[in-house]
Subunit: 315 residues, 2 copies
Amino acid sequence: MKVYELPAIMAALDVHQAMCAIELGFVAYSAGRVQVPPVQAFGFPQANGDCCIKSAYVEGSETFTVKVSTGFYSNPQQGLPSNDGLMLVLSASTGQPLALLADQGWLTCMRTALAGRIAARLLAPNRVEAIGILGTGMQARLQLEQLLAVTACREVLVWGRSDAARRDYRAFAEALGCTVRCVEQPRLVAEAANLLVCATPSREPLLQREWLLPGSHITAVGADASGKQELAVELVASAQRIIVDSRRQCSQYGEVSHALKAGLIAPSQLSELGEVLAGHTTGREHDGQLTLADLTGVAVQDAQIARCVLEVLQR
Amino acid sequence: MKVYELPAIMAALDVHQAMCAIELGFVAYSAGRVQVPPVQAFGFPQANGDCCIKSAYVEGSETFTVKVSTGFYSNPQQGLPSNDGLMLVLSASTGQPLALLADQGWLTCMRTALAGRIAARLLAPNRVEAIGILGTGMQARLQLEQLLAVTACREVLVWGRSDAARRDYRAFAEALGCTVRCVEQPRLVAEAANLLVCATPSREPLLQREWLLPGSHITAVGADASGKQELAVELVASAQRIIVDSRRQCSQYGEVSHALKAGLIAPSQLSELGEVLAGHTTGREHDGQLTLADLTGVAVQDAQIARCVLEVLQR
C-alpha cells in the first residue's frame, strides 16, 4: 500500500474533475447506487475533540473509501491544527488496501467547498449583490475561492468572532481580487449580501429570517454533527427550496433537523442535491425565492475526490 | 504517521500481554466504559467480497483505533489471500493519526483466537476428552494454538470441507504436539470431543444438539456477519450458559440471533464475556452444563491488541 502525503495530494487534485466526480457521486447517492454505511462518531470531551469515520462505495467503482476525520479544538493552544484526518482507498475487487492519502483533512475541506460551489451554481440568485461569509477559518476561505468560479461578483462581507481573524480573512480575500468589508454582526452580512455561506462550528443560530434580502441563497456547512446550528429554525422554515446533501444525515443533525424537530417543516419539503443534479426536481425557480442548501458532508464526496486524486498519483 | 508492516507487527506482539489487555477491554465494554460505534459493513457480491469497519475507544486510553478488514473469498483463485486489513491508531488527546498497522488482517485473527482462549478458560469442561475443530483455515489454526495454553489435552479431531485441507491441518496440529484425527462429518467431531471450536464461514448449521457429549463447550466464531450460521438453533437453545462477546452484535447477526428470531431463547439468557470476567455473572457452573461462547468480534479487541503492539513498536 502506498502512502501519499499532503503536498503530493494537493498537486494531484484537478479541481474541475473532482467537482464533476462529486456531482456524479451525489447523483448516485440519491439514486441509491451507493453503499454508505451510517457514520461512526466519537466524542472526546476531555480533549475538546471529536472524530468521525465516513465510508462509501459508489456501485461500479474499482475502489471504495474509508475516511477518518478529527477535530480537536484545543489543538491550536499546542501549536497543532484543529483538524486532521486521512483517507484509505481499497480495491472493490480484491479488498486490498491500495493507498493511504495522509491529507490531514484537506480533501474533506475541498470536497465540502466543492459541494458549496455545486449548490451555489444550482441555487444562487441571478444577480449576486454581494457574497456574505460567516466564519473566517479554512472552510470559509475555500468556500469563497470556489464561489468565485460561479459568480462574477467580487464584493465580500465577512463576519467572524475575532477582529484579528476578520482582518486575516480580508487579506486572504483581497488577494483573490475581492473588495472586502469586515462586519461585527452576522446581521450586517445578511442585510447586504444575497449569496451567503455559513461555515462556523456554531451551536446557536447566527442568522434570523427577517434580516435576509429577498431571494437570497444560503449554503450552511457548519452543522455536521449533533448540537450544531447556524440558522434560526424560522429561517429554515421560510425557505422555498430546501436542498440537502443527504436526507438521512440532514434529518439527524443538519440545519433542517432542528426545524423538523420543531415541526416547522415536513420531510417532504427536502430535496437532495443529487435529485436536482439529475433533473428530477428543481433548484431555484425564480429570483424571489429564498433557497437553502444544508450540507452535512456525505461519504460519497470523499470516495469521489479520493478516486480523482489517486488516479493522478498512480499515473 | 508511522506505517508498520506485518513482520514487525508479528515480532512485537506479546500474546500474554495482549490477552490481558483484551480481557480488560471486554470488561470495559460490558461496563459501558467504551465508545464502540455500530460496525460499518459493505458487500461486494460481484467479487464475492465484504468489508467491515470496526472502531473503538476504551475510556481513559491514550489512543483509539479504526480497523478495516476485508474478506474476498475468490482471491485465492488469483493467488491472493482471502483476508486483508489494517488498523489505524489515533491519539485520543489530539486526534492525530499515530500509526498504521498494515497487518493484513493478522491482528484480527489473533484477537479472535485470544477471545476463544479466554472463553475456553472460563467455560471449558474440567476434563477435556478431545479438542474438536470445525474448519481448517487460519482461524481454526490459531484457535487450536491458543487452546493448548488452557488445556493439557492434545487429542484433536478436525473436520473441514476438503480432504487436502484436513491433511494440511493435521500436519499443522501434529507439529504443535497433538494427535490428530481427520473426519469427514462434523457429527464425528461432536461425538468424540467436548471442547469444540467452530471457525468456518458456514451459512447453514454444521452441528446438531443430539450429537454433543454431555457437558461440552462450544466456541463459535464464524457468524461474524448477517446470514452466517454454524449451530442449529435447537443446540443454541439447549445451552445452559450462553456467553456472548457483545449482546448488541450477537443479537443482530451472531449464532444467538437465529435462536432469538426463532423465539427459542430470550435476551435475558445472554451474558457478556466482560460480565463473566468482571465476576458479575458465572461462567460454567458444573460439569454437566452445555456452554456456548458466541463471538462476533468486538472493536475493543482491536483497540486493545493494537495498543499492545504499538507500545512495543514505539519503544
